[in-house]
Symmetry: C2
Subunit: 356 residues, 2 copies
Amino acid sequence: MFSFKPLLTALALMLSLTSTSLLAQETYTIRLAETWGPNSPILGETPRNMAAMAEKMSGGRLQFRIDSSNKHKAPFGIFDMVKAGQYDMGHTASYYYKGSIPNAMYFTTVPFGMIAPEQYAWFYHGGGMELMQKVYQPHGLLSFPGGNTGNQMGGWFREEIETVEDLQGLKMRTPGFAGEVMSEVGVAVTNIPPGELYSALERGTIDALEWVGPALDFQMGFHQIAKYYYSGWQEPGAEVQFLINEKTWNKLPPELQEILRVSMRTAAYDMYIQSTHESGIAWDRMKEDYPDVTHKTFPPEVIEALREATDKLLAEAAQKDELAKEIITSQHDYLQQVRQWTNISDKAYLNSVSSE
Amino acid sequence: MFSFKPLLTALALMLSLTSTSLLAQETYTIRLAETWGPNSPILGETPRNMAAMAEKMSGGRLQFRIDSSNKHKAPFGIFDMVKAGQYDMGHTASYYYKGSIPNAMYFTTVPFGMIAPEQYAWFYHGGGMELMQKVYQPHGLLSFPGGNTGNQMGGWFREEIETVEDLQGLKMRTPGFAGEVMSEVGVAVTNIPPGELYSALERGTIDALEWVGPALDFQMGFHQIAKYYYSGWQEPGAEVQFLINEKTWNKLPPELQEILRVSMRTAAYDMYIQSTHESGIAWDRMKEDYPDVTHKTFPPEVIEALREATDKLLAEAAQKDELAKEIITSQHDYLQQVRQWTNISDKAYLNSVSSE
């Protein structure tokens, strides 16, 4: 019997280590659906950046299968597909789901709202994450910031906008909440599929349109037709989102949950920085290749009219829904506080070093 | 024999799994020295945020022991201690080591340089990381961005600064490169230990001082003595750093290297966002509690003089050293490009929504 004891002990040890190891080595394949088409610059690079970090950090225990819109055919159905468990995760933008989940809208961006660093501060320190979870939790979903486009441009206009009158009857493609605000001030808002925008602008079906910013506008060619490029007011820091079905989330062991959480968080920040970089390159090139392109800011009276219309629509939304009111109030109060800091830091600095 | 085969196979399988498991379960304790004292807000929270993410993501395989300056007694000796292998990692700021490694300075911030998102874009997409590695590699070190303070304030002044003449002989505490620039324009630059700053300002030993920004200035109480709070020009986006001894780095398996890399990257971004948040709170409170505090921007003639002095010193540095020239040129060219975008996006937006 003497010689058996160590063997038995060793066997027991091995068995216990083996079971730990088998548990620890379990792999998970996460199916992710993105709103974007295949090879979509910046937006499409973000879930892939997230997946690459998560796969590498987990030593391959987290694997991802990412489907673009050409595969799942439902670019604006990500919310429903992840809710139904058809996909584990989504990469999309919450304001696309205004119809089915109206309060989601505020977590992308709001006209006259926060710029990217202010909005991240609201999400992570000002109660934003908790409010977002309050909106998504009843749907069995978790939502996380998924990348910021930076400040979006106000759009391409064939004619200069000098007064509010110039907006009356102007035919413009501008979707979402910004479109509603534009309607309020007299713009004839139309929606046109992305693939037809260039010819619609060229043929005069529309007089103006809003897309994103230099990095994504450049390849659309709008600058060849409409030379006035206006700074924005409508999407000061559009944050896209990661959605996760909470059943998938709950299945993961704590270390893989943390790997997923941190990968999403970094990929979101990374997209903001990549957008900054590529916008700089594209705007530089546009100005060089097309010296006719003229940067403009809307005159104060136009900004004032747009802001009043925004405030009116937000007040109406707050009156109709208790949770909407809570979110709008939280964002408003946070902006009041953080913007004072932005004004004496980056804004004062940028103004003091250049009058451009 | 028949009955032994499965047992032997099972044993072999267990042995192979066990060895994988033993290998995979190896833990590493990383000793990290920080410049900051114990419980240092924001700055000291950053390496702890990094460590918490890395420990959790690695399932405990990465462990950290963080020593504050009261323990290692060498707040400005982090570079040397990590180089010597006395610590595996450091959390510090590269411009503290101007003496031993002059080209490190440019990776923290440069007067009239980039703001935080511009600088992250330079690091990650504009060649900044590669240049930083060129500086640290001969010392057997890896360096990563370690958190941004945001735009630092120009400082607290007892009297208003209206002309360049007002700077002549002004006694001011302002360290580093900014101090050299201030000297160039006639300021009597002095260095005073942090603990004595308040009484030096109160007794008139100094007329002005520069610290960080509202979040860290508030607790120092300067606003109770000097009421003019100037916006900055000298540190538009000060990035602290993580340093790692490359022997430690090379010992880690690929998945733990990636966990460390991503934890540092996220913690750095997180610090920028936390700084934004806490600066907003502190500035709001300061204005409320001390209505005498007056925000100022330096007049254009003062900014012009400071900028000329900065350009002169940078040109001298570039002439003396080939690598300095490469870094200064890279930052200059990148800023030219990205700032045009910042100007038509955030700057134009911030100006159009408020004239403050």
